[in-house]
Amino acid sequence: MSILVDRETRVVVQGITGRDGAFHAGQMADYGTQVTSGVTPGKGGMKTDDGIPVFDTVRQAVDETGANTSVIYVPARFAADAICEAADAGIQLVVCVTEGIPVKDMVLVLPYLRERNTRLIGPNCPGIISPGKTKVGIMPGEIHMEGPVGVVSRSGTLTYEVVHHLSQSGLGQSTCIGIGGDPIIGTNFLDALELFREDDETEAVVLIGEIGGSDEEEAADVIARGYPKKVVSFIAGRTAPRGKRMGHAGAIVTGGKGTAEEKIAAFKKAGVDVAETPAQIATFVKGLLS
């Protein structure tokens, strides 16, 4: 059993008639994901070029197709409502790819999800993939391979880079979760570590952090208190200047807090190997697993 998603995952794509939604619905289906349905208000009744039925509301999609997981590609200003709609329709896992959602919206959305026991991945994230089983998001499926390494990351392409190295070194992945680059996200490092803790397919975890916030420090704390799997980490942004946002809304050192040095120190203190380059991650994991 992989975490969060597996072959039984039944996906509804919110914003399926948009450019990104349409493209990735097809990509996911090609990868083998059960893309059961899509939602675009006002376009209910049509089918996509890939033959996926489109509904006006998530509730209809759930009722008609048994979707249990949603992936969201709607524009930022409609995304918070789309997330809540999914939760209200009983969707248990929502992956929000959309970037640029106001922080205030997320602050209001998260308690709504919590009340409904819905887990959110993202926003502003590449999604989640359990190689060989299913992918829900936008990551290129072909660079992944099945195996024992769990990956959790705040970034998108940097994760692809790391996964690429892992696969090339023969290290497959159990599940890769892109938790997103925003300051306020639904699932953080701690949550992901807890999921991997119990996952018997996962033998080692790669944690790819970056400057901003203190999620990495909190993860290091948890590992220091006893974590049953090997962990290798990487922190992006050692050379980032203070007070400047580095692309991701969450990647900023403010008031001297959230620096790469602090995070690296916390991991080292917790006994976690911290790689200097993406390629080194694979080397470290290989060493730990052999």
Binding site: D20, P102, D105, V107, S153, G156, T157, L158, G247, H248
Partner: protein, 377 residues
Amino acid sequence: MKIHEADARRIFSRHGLPVPPSELIVSADQAKAAAEELGCPVVVKAQVLVGGRGKAGGVKLAATPAEAAEKAESMLGMEIKGLTVEKILIAKAVEIEHELYAGIVIDRRSRKPLMMVSAAGGIDIEEVARTSPEKIMKVIIDPLWGIMPFQLRQLQSFLSGEREVARQIGEALKQLYEAFMAVDASLAEINPLVISPEGKVWAIDAKINIDDNGLYRRSELSELRDESAEDQGETEARKNDLSFVKLDGSIGCIVNGAGLAMATMDMIKHYGAKPANFLDIGGSSSPQKVLAAMRIILRDEKVKSILINIFGGITRCDDVAQGIIDAKKELGIDVPLIVRLTGTNEERALKMLEDTDLITAASMDEGVEKAIEASRS
């Protein structure tokens, strides 16, 4: 987005906060007239988007209109931390008995707004937090309910034992929170919030940062952006939907994805050189974006080579290749370009670039090493 004190004061006033009257001026004459109208003494405050302007001579008291004019005159055109003073706020001065601090940010851990107050105001609050944490009270605000009366009672009684003063403080904190939420702020700060000898509470400074992502809701706020406080490249990047931060090294970088872009910078450092910038072309790239990125980077004369590091996912490598070709044609590039392209449509892209004089690299490590080497030759 940072906005000027004058704009933040206006937002605070609109939400009922007790902000002393003020006028924004651009000349000494105007300063005099404003001081006359407001009544002296007044404070003459340079409007620049950096902290520490007081220490840099950007805040002065004036006892007469003539003095206000004189101080404004000397302040106009002055440079503070690289920014030129073009506008000045003339604000009615208030007598100060106590200086307090009140601020709100979004707390990443609780995922909620956090209000922080201190009886030690007027100084650097991070310094207070480090040295005298007991002088600070923090409350997490649940935005679904807003700041609650019991929280205001906790905060106000922490700041003042005088009933009427405490009441005014509570009122001000409530209004500060309302202003914070109304403009989608990421930070709202009154430092100092002062108590006058007569027991009247005043917000004599105002700072607001606004969440860029929320700006679409209030287009009037977008107009408060001061582009003169930004690097020219940052302004241009924003208009082209790129993320750009200028640094002081010699290796220019064009990368897709913020994490990969940071990792690229870090790796340049790791291999012994310095990056000239952070630049993320974002997810759905286009040739135009690559062209704009190139133009921004080439403006920096310290740049000795440019590394293009792309891991295609949504980003299509052929789009990037087209952008490079266009840039070479339009911009007349005279520094070496090192290109690492992998992922979606990689092969088509490499074919497009076959007949150019670009240096290609098969991996990120190789790309970085070649870019450093090229920058040194």
